[in-house]
C-alpha cells in the first residue's frame, strides 16, 4: 500500500549522504564527488554532505591553485544553496586537528562532534564516500 502511494507521489525520497574525506587537490575525488552531488540534486532526494578528515580542507576560504595547475573549484560549494542542498555537516574534531574553525570556511555549515556525525550517518538510507 505504502509503496503504491510513494509511486503516485513520484517515488520515495531517500536520505543520501555524501561523505568527503580527502583534500581538494592531488586526487580527483573531491571534484568528482561535488559533481555527483550536483547531479543528484536533479532527483529531488534528501541530500546532505559531510566533511571529515582532510575533506574539511575542501571548504577552506582563499584557495589558490595556480601552483598545482588545477582549477579552483571551491566557489562551486557556494552554488549548492541554489541547488537546494543546504545540509553541510563538518566534523569538529577534524577541524580542530587541522587548526581550523568555522570562520575559516567559505559556506555556512553545521559543525558537529564525531559522535553526532555517526548518529547522522546512521539515519541515512544511502551513504556514499569520496
Amino acid at each position: 500500500m505504502s509503496d503504491d502511494m510513494d509511486f503516485e507521489e513520484g517515488g520515495a525520497v531517500k536520505k543520501f549522504m555524501f561523505v568527503n574525506r580527502k583534500a581538494p587537490y592531488g586526487t580527483i575525488y573531491a571534484l568528482e564527488g561535488l559533481e555527483v552531488v550536483l547531479i543528484s540534486a536533479a532527483f529531488d532526494q534528501d541530500v546532505s554532505l559531510a566533511f571529515l578528515d582532510d575533506g574539511v580542507f575542501q571548504l577552506v576560504k582563499g584557495q589558490k591553485t595556480d601552483g598545482v595547475e588545477m582549477k579552483n573549484f571551491s566557489p562551486t560549494y557556494r552554488a549548492l544553496e541554489g541547488y537546494d542542498i543546504e545540509k553541510l555537516y563538518v566534523e569538529r574534531e577534524s577541524l580542530e586537528a587541522r587548526g581550523l574553525s568555522e570562520e575559516d570556511l567559505l559556506v555556512d555549515v553545521q559543525v558537529m562532534s564525531a559522535a553526532e556525525m555517526g548518529d547522522m550517518m546512521a539515519q541515512q538510507d544511502v551513504v556514499i564516500s569520496f
Binding site: L38, I39, A42, A79
Partner: protein
Amino acid sequence: MALEVNGTTIETDEEGFLVNLSDWNPDVAAELAKGESIEMTDQHWEVINFLREYYDEYQIAPAVRVLTKAIGKKLGPDKGNSKYLYDLFPYGPGKQACKIDGLPKPTGCI
C-alpha cells in the same frame, strides 16, 4: 572542430563547445549562435551575460532548473520561467546558452 571568427581559428569540441573559455568574445558568441540557428536579440544577450556572471561567481554552468530560478530572482518572474527561456533557446537554455557563452556543457546535462 574549429570556428573561424575575424580571421582567428577557435578550437571547439565534437559538440561545438569552446575548448578554451578564454577564446570567448561577443563576436565568437554571435558565430556560435549562428551555428545554433539563433538570431541574437537583447533578450538572448541578457541570458548569456547572466550565465557568464554565474560562471564567474561559482565556476560551474548551472543546471536548467537552477538557472531558471536564479534568473527569476535577478530579472523577474516573467523571465525566470521555462517557457521564456525555451522560446529564446529552443534546444535547451542550459545547453545552447552555455555553448554560445563559451562555457562547458552543464554538469548533469545529457
